[in-house]
């Protein structure tokens, strides 16, 4: 008896959906084993996570709060991933967006909100875009592997943030904490009722998800991105500039992540500090992949992972698990998502 793999020629749409949902569901029993080994009742833990994330207005609102940066980063990542450019640097691009917009907020605290906030978003976008284009340029011109360079730039961005909040930007009235001064009210995003949902960023994320969908499927740029991703040789043959496509996808992806960074400082923290992101840029990779790089599906997967982050907080408090427990979720789900990819690409046949 032999097991043979056959490439599928067509993957039906229902299969994509079913496999994606199954990859999340199937990961649950595996994670349960890990909980069990830690002496925690997995059913209880799942219950806590679910009710924590979706069971109350507060939980739900926090889930949305965490989903906002995931939507922006995840939708952004779907663009280079389509072109087979592996941007692992959304985290760093987010931080740069936060840093440069903070620079504006601190420098011009007296500008009215309707000028200051849009400026912060624009500058944050540009900052993230430039941070993304650096590895893009290195990839196109010097063939430097973007997985490595984007990842390394994350650390540089983080160190830059550290330097600024411990050094020149350290707030005078913060009693020595590594925080910048609090933003002036006009640099703070409005929130929905008494939640922390900074809705302008949420709306921005949803609009960009729709625009990205249009970009990919309805525009010349999207066409080029898809051709490069599907068959780079055909792209070359068709005269599509590789440099242009790489810079474009990295700029958009970095820019979107930069916007997420602006949202975090202007909407949540109201200052720049360490730990403004619990790894949104990394989680967004799984979010984008589980959403099969479809911008609208990514909105849904962002909510799911936003919920996981909130639920993770919950079990940390309720069950005394380390916060890193949630990383296990991310990791195991990613494995199942990748396995699901394989199942979709190949038919497994058993021959005798």
């Amino acid at each position: 008896m032999r097991i043979k793999l056959e490439k599928r020629t067509v993957v039906p749409k229902w299969m994509v959906v079913v496999v994606s949902i199954l990859s999340v569901l199937l990961s649950l029993p595996v994670i349960a084993v890990i909980f069990k080994l830690k002496g925690v009742d997995p059913i209880l833990a799942y219950k806590k996570i679910f009710t924590g994330a979706f069971g109350s207005t507060y939980g739900l609102s926090e889930t949305v709060v965490k989903a906002i940066p995931l939507i922006l980063c995840g939708v952004g990542l779907a663009i280079p991933f389509r072109a087979l450019i592996w941007n692992i640097g959304a985290e760093g691009q987010l931080l740069i967006g936060a840093i440069v917009s903070t620079g504006i907020a601190l420098k011009f605290p007296d500008w009215p909100a309707y000028i200051l906030l849009p400026t912060m978003f624009i500058v944050g976008f540009i900052g993230g875009a430039v941070w993304g284009m650096i590895p893009g340029f290195l990839r196109a011109k010097l063939r430097a592997n973007e997985v490595i360079t984007t990842l390394m730039l994350n650390y540089i961005a983080y160190k830059l943030l550290e330097y600024l909040v411990y050094g020149p930007w350290k707030g005078k009235e913060e009693w020595g904490f590594p925080y910048t001064s609090k933003f002036s009210p006009s640099a703070q995003l409005p929130r929905l009722f008494n939640t922390r949902i900074h809705y302008p960023t949420l709306i921005l994320g949803l609009v960009l998800a729709i625009l990205t969908y249009i970009l990919i499927y309805r525009t010349k740029w999207g066409y080029e991105i898809r051709v490069v991703g599907e068959n780079p040789e055909a792209a070359n043959y068709a005269g599509i500039s590789h440099l242009k496509v790489i810079l474009l996808v990295m700029a958009l992806s970095g820019g979107f992540a930069g916007l997420a960074g602006v949202g975090e400082v202007a909407g949540i923290q109201h200052r720049l500090r360490l730990g403004i992101s619990p790894g949104y840029g990394y989680t967004a990779i799984i979010v984008a992949w589980l959403g099969r790089l479809h911008p609208l599906a990514i909105v849904l997967t962002s909510l799911l992972f936003g919920g996981l982050l909130v639920g993770g907080d919950m079990i940390q408090v309720a069950l005394g698990l380390p916060f890193a427990a949630i990383d296990i979720f991310n990791g195991v789900i990613l494995f199942f998502v990748l396995a699901g990819d394989f199942i979709m690409k190949y038919k497994i046949r058993i021959l005798r």
């Binding site: 066409y223 599907e230 043959y237 068709a238 005269g239």
Partner: protein, 508 residues
Amino acid sequence: MVKEKGETPVVQMKGITKRFPGVLANDYIDFEVRKGEVHALLGENGAGKTTLMNILYGIYRPDEGEIYIRGKKVEIRSPKDAIKLGIGMVHQHFMLVYPHTVAENVALGLKGASLVNPTKSVEKMIREFGEKYGLKVDPNARIWQLSVGEQQRVEIIKALCRGAEVLILDEPTSVLTPGETKELFKILRAMAKEGKSIIFISHKLDEVMEVSDRVTVLRKGRVVVTKKTSETNKVELARMMVGREVIFRIKRETVEKGRVVLQVENLHALNDKGLLALKGVTFNVKEGEILGIAGVAGNGQRELVEVITGLRKATKGRVIIMGEDVTNKSPREIAEKKVAHIPEERIRMGLVPNMSVAENLILKRYREPTFSRGLMLDKEKIEEFAKELVKKYEIMTPSIHTPAKLLSGGNIQRLILARELSGSPKLIVAAHPTYGLDVAATEYIRKLLLEQKKKGAAVLLVSEDLEEIMELSDRIAVMFEGEVMGIVDAEKASIEEIGLMMAGVKRR
């Protein structure tokens, strides 16, 4: 066939038949190899050489036919079975782990290598083979440090360590420099002398003449002949390889030739290995003319096409299209000069397999204002255009939204031609346009090219199919080792004369 010394051949393949969808790759092939001989398997691309050897090595199963090894009937289900029977194969693309050493690569998966410190015994074996056959390579060198020729030796050593008595080499010289080729031939001769049997797949006549004891010529999946190399010559082999049946010509209409469209002057370019593949090619093609480029594959045709279409840089010389110097311009700039390119590897280069027929039809033209409003693509216009082309070029597809990869080979080629010809090109560069297609598709595509010529386009037709070249071209340029051996008038040319030039004998 009279057997020498009445000895049983090491390998006997009888009545081997293998069908692929739409292609009869091997048609009742009889093939045998004796102990201690270098047996060349000669034929054009697509003649069925590699298929036959993949059957012997267990990669494919034959639909019909039997295989005997040392007189015993066997079934070879996988390469593992083949290795057990003492058959080894060196593929065109090496299967080596680059960061590892030679010894580690040889030990990898080797039965009989000791569990602890497996490279120790292997190193000894490598040194022994090195001395015995001249297969010199340092067992402790890492693969990436080695030249291609040395890497190939590692592959040969791997096969020998697994007990290969019969060694199949698939176009082994295609990656080698002339010097490395000489070295390889010495090794092959040494191994044959020690009683190994070697099957040497090639389409290069010189090499077959130089290294082999016997040669089997395949053509279109059939054996043309098996004979002693000493009893034949290059010209005869060339003729057998490309086919000797009477060439019936389509009535070739001569069209008024106009201005020079493509002018190539003293063109030089390197191949992927960094070796000089074009050594001063000069010719021109006029409006209303088809210039055929004949030659055995691998003599610079691919590089020539790529330089003209902007996919490869010229190191010297000029390409002039419609009086304008376009040397080393980008593929886009050249395409915008109304240059159509029907690429050699149509699926790898000419198609985006996962995208729809409609999206593939605009691959070269999506930038045009006809198909877009600003940044947005005009879906309606594109679909209208696609429907029109599908109808005009009779592309058989369930719908214009079907992924292009689901189309048959002939329809994929129709799609590419539809796209390339839709822009009313001034110059058409067609590389092996009918390669692998069935008769109907072949006829259709030839008809299209002749139509374009009548409309006043200049056509550069690269083909290994000599019949096709003779049938379609007005003039024929023959390439050999990166040079044009001569340019002849198709009306006056004889297949013998062209065959001689293909074998590297200059016309004058």
